[in-house]
Subunit: 221 residues, 2 copies
């Protein structure tokens, strides 16, 4: 199971929903490949690996495909997360309406100063930090968004891990890692979103492509 494959599955999923609303009932590996920008063989192989079978001449049934992907991607289960740290970024995320569209529900926010709620119209409850463990356990939350200040990030990470959080979206500049001797314990998924680094990369790529243009002019054909 490749990381690229998961990315592709989400893309198939979105396209399939669009095709369904257009009234289509079947889709060929070729169409799907074109739509998500991969070779048709990749599409067939992906499905084959997931034991999703098409029909030798009729392609794949969209309805069935969506149902299968729902299960594989876990879209049939509730997708709930908490936000830890309700500073600027944290509260921006709490009020972001785009999550609901994708079926994601932010169950609560946590902050050392839960009074941050007072300032703003919070659509989502904000609790003090010492309710973190209780809430997560009671509500059986599996995913946490970390938007605390840099110095607090690893401590929060460890607290969340200890209480059963398995998926992390980390906005602090500290790159969170698990060094898990392959196959040991429950898998932990971490996505680090480092905005400063992202921006830095853009400057780098820009500079490098420009430089290589220059060298191409000097030495090139």
């Amino acid at each position: 199971m490749h990381k690229d494959m998961i990315l592709r599955l989400t893309k198939y999923y979105r396209i399939l929903h669009k095709l369904k609303t257009l009234g289509l009932e079947r889709v060929f590996a070729n169409n799907l490949g074109d739509a998500v920008g991969v070779n048709a063989a990749v599409v067939r192989k992906d499905f084959s690996l997931l034991n999703i079978m098409g029909q030798k001449r009729g392609g794949y049934e969209i309805e069935n495909l969506i149902t299968d992907l729902d299960k594989i991607l876990g879209k049939d289960k509730p997708q709930r997360a908490v936000i830890v740290g309700c500073g600027r970024i944290g509260s921006a995320l709490m009020r972001y309406s785009g999550f609901a569209v994708d079926g994601i529900h932010i169950a609560a926010g946590f902050d050392i100063n839960p009074a941050v709620c007072e300032d703003q119209h919070c659509p989502i409850p904000i609790y003090p930090m010492d309710e973190l463990e209780r809430f997560i356990q009671e509500e059986q939350i599996r995913v946490g968004i970390i938007t605390v200040p840099e110095q607090a990030s690893t401590e929060i990470f460890n607290r969340l891990r200890a209480v059963g959080i398995r998926g992390f979206l980390n906005f602090t500049p500290i790159e969170l890692k698990v060094s898990r001797p392959a196959g040991t314990g429950a898998p932990i998924i971490i996505h680090n979103v480092n905005i400063a680094l992202e921006l830095e990369h853009i400057f780098y790529e820009l500079n490098i492509t420009e430089n290589s243009e220059i060298t191409a002019q000097l030495y090139g054909s």
Copy 2:
């Protein structure tokens, strides 16, 4: 020039700075490889490709290496960007202190309602949208951060492209693309940060790893 290579270069760069502050003067491909988690051969190959030469027995001089990478990554030039759209995320970014650490300077923000400035203590000026073109041209900005509402994203993208912006950090859920027939015109760098998608991926990966655990238990060794 691979995308992965740029990523590695930034990692070398950070490590080298740390080594320098520790007082080291030389570094071996092996050490550097260990530090960033790649094979030593990769390090040597990367440098070789960039015409950075070491010494057959003495490794690489840290000071020179940093100078070379400075140039390659464009760290010797000013790294300035504008933010278009000063809503919740936009203004959170404007007040984010992490950029300065990396030598990135946000030159200005733009919004259809520049009065957003009044509410908050803005460390950075916010101008109305119709000053966008003038400012970017006068200040020769090359990088733009797009934090406008979804519906406005492509319009803003096109305006920015037209006025010479070449690097984009896009926070709207619309995936911006350029279909540039290889080698035509100036290169455009786009990074899309889609937070909802990122979170979705975490749920997917979690679900898939859990499922594969289950199947492993059923069929496994």
